[in-house]
Amino acid sequence: MAEETMQQPPAANPNEPSANAKKYAWTVPPAKTAILSHRVERVDGPAKVSGAARYTYDINRPGMLWARAIRSPHPHAKIVEIDFSAAKQAPGVRGVLAWKDPGAEVMYQGDVVAAVAADSEDHARDAARLVKITYETLPFSVREASSKDPATPKIFATGNTRPGQATDVGDVAAAFKSAAHVYEATYDTQVITHVCLETHGAVCEWTGDKLTAWVTTQGVHGVRQQLAAALKIPEANVRVICEYMGGGFGSKIAADASVVIPARLALVTGAPVKMMFDRKEEHLDTGNRPSAFSKVRAGVSADGKCVAFEAETWGTGGAGQGAQFPLPYIYQFANRKRAHLDVYINAGNQRPMRAPGHPQGCFATEVLMDELADLVKMDPLEFRLKNLPPTAPDAMWGEYFKIGAKKFGWDKRRATGEGGKGHLRTGMGVSACQWGGGGRAGNAHVDILPDGSVVVKVGTQDIGTGARTVVGIVAADTLGVPLSTVKAQIGDTDLPFAGASGGSTTTAGISPAIRIAAGRAKEALLARLAPSLGGDASKLEIVNGRVQVKGGGKSLTWKAACKLLGQEPISIDNAWEPGLSSVNTSGVQFAEVTVDTETGIVKVDRVLAIQDCGLVIDTLTAESQVYGGVISSINFALFEDRLLDRRTGQMVNPNMEHYLLASIADVPKVEVMLMNMPERGVIGIGEPPTVPTASAIANAVRNATGATLRSLPLHPHRVLAALEAHKAGRKA
């Protein structure tokens, strides 16, 4: 499926390299490396597929209790009374907890009010139903339009809306006057939820005044700090463990109720407590991607140069959180103006979701770009090339568009609306993405033990992307030993500090520290071995697990060499240093779709993703990130939609039956071209590939049918309505 990694010209790295970064600079892969940048299978793959890997959900402690939250059924209400008396008498109940007190308000369906702990999951559920909470219901709004309406009563103390950051660059009025064409349209994307396969939750156990918490989290160290603060205990008394986790996508950085409630109930009951949310709770109360509305006016010159942009944007991040996004996205409008409004509704609050803001801004901009291209009668790709920022190592879209066009067969793309005869129409679309990445928070400890074992300890966590494998590859490649020699220890606050895994920062945050620590450990080892191998450490090397004199002479197997360490292992610590990692990535994606004009069903036939991420540590897991990002964006484009009933304020699809996701049959052929840029150092790849697919799909539908889809998701009824509007010669 994937192409060979492709070499790019040397690129600038904005980080001034440290002395260590210069000394232990990456070997330019893949030709000169044993495993770095190669296709390496996950070291924990067998554990995952065999079930040996233990996720938080799998943790069960002796004498453990189960906790269950009691949540508001109302979108907005005041708590009048909480009566635990019946619940306390229920079978197996060991403890109860008021998360909110009478007098407090609940701001959305699913807002946590209380919790119970019992000796089984069933008993906890039964007891939760017996907690009697009296509410005084209050006015609510679950629609952006309703909250924006000045006639709607003030639901939030600080107002139902709040202006966001505004932009005013250049002379917009004059630019519109000079434009040959002026175009207006409104674009919108929906709220979607994270749908982590492993739901939020934790198992908490106290030993005296010390707490051990197994948490499904994107940041063990951050959760330790937050748990200690919430419980008002020293951080040193908290240990957080996350050996494996089943997806977070940005929603598992905070220590929320799913962590603090079991910790408190464990303290009250004197027993370990496990609390794992169910699917409905996940949809209601563990975050989402905000909605985004963009009412846009754009001006283009006769020769296809974007000259003016004006937008009024709004969206909801829930009950008090923001909903901004970058707009316009990537393409250059020298004169631009934008006003934004955050709109509050009575629904669960947003949390970071894979490339926060970018998919929304990308969708509005990229669909607009196709419409503008048609307006000036240019090929959409040519139009994009004309309006991109100048090409640079961190701005490679122009090059990638050209490479992709050739690879994808863009020359076979037909004009807009000429996607064939009959009810099945095919079309192509294209889109671009940008992301920063580039972490700086990683510390590594490397041990070379006398029996030949190598242990690398990093307090990062694997959010499913292959961090354990990355740790092993960097250490093994640096030391010159097989990957199987290295044992990576991660996911525990007893290990050296690393930042949370988010924003495509993990690999760039930890790899430099591992590279330098392993390089220093290698030097220390060779110095210790030198007397046995000729007396000069600088003349020794380690190749394929063998310690030898350069150019021939004495040599030892790795095990035999390490045995010479006696009882004193090599033990080295190092922090992240600048120079081995960088920031800013670029990518483009092409999509081809078939649209059934009778049913409105869109089928994605193939996607080509061209993506850079600096130095590729493991081609296989980097490609996996792209596959995952593309599939996630197909979900955003075609399926996912959080539906709220405007009359009751209830989510009507808080499950995985009516909240739709792609099935295997919906996943197209995905080709990945990783553009390896080793000279830039490590950057990261988690976010960018999930940004452009949805807009490329929408543009492909437009190319196939002539109907422009300006709203996601592209559910059949919406496609049919757009086709009908197109046929009637009006905007959908």
């Binding site: 904005p14 980080n15 403890g95 109860v96 907890l97 008021a98 909110k100 007190d101 308000e105 701001m107 939030f156 103390a157 600080t158 950051q165 940041g219 937050q226 603060a229 919430a230 940005g250 950085i253 905070a254 220590a255 109720a257 603090v260 408190r264 991040g317 829930g318 009950a319 008090g320 959180q321 923001g322 901004q324 996004f325 970058p326 707009l327 316009p328 990537i330 631009r336 934004h340 609050n349 949390r351 970071p352 926060p356 803001g357 920022p389 940008q434 920063g436 990445g437 972490g439 700086r440 928070a441 930042g499 949370a500 988010g502 924003g503 920062t505 945050g509 600048p578 920031v583 800013n584």
Partner: protein
């Protein structure tokens, strides 16, 4: 880089209990990112006292309102935080 999630939360100005992703996901600042779009703030905020996106007073957590004058706001690092008013247990 300029992290797209980076909000302006200044120690001593905003409440010490306000939290957001960029406090835990550490990145390298790079203003060059602004070549590709204008500044914007997507951050979600929460309160480490309540472990929610609402403060102890029940109102939303945001940098513009988690400042002095709000009853539950704590800006003096020497001041011991008062126990959260909710989270009562029985």
């Amino acid at each position: 880089m300029l992290h797209p999630d980076s909000p302006a939360v200044v120690p001593g100005v905003q409440c010490e209990h306000i939290r957001h992703k960029s406090m835990y996901v550490m990145t390298v600042d790079n203003p060059q990112a602004l070549r590709f779009f204008d500044p914007y703030d997507t951050a979600s905020y929460w309160c480490q006292e309540t472990s929610e996106a609402f403060g102890p007073d029940g109102h939303p957590v945001r940098p513009d309102c988690c400042v002095g004058g709000r009853g539950c706001c704590r800006t003096d690092p020497d001041t011991e935080a008062a126990p959260a008013h909710h989270h009562g247990q029985d």
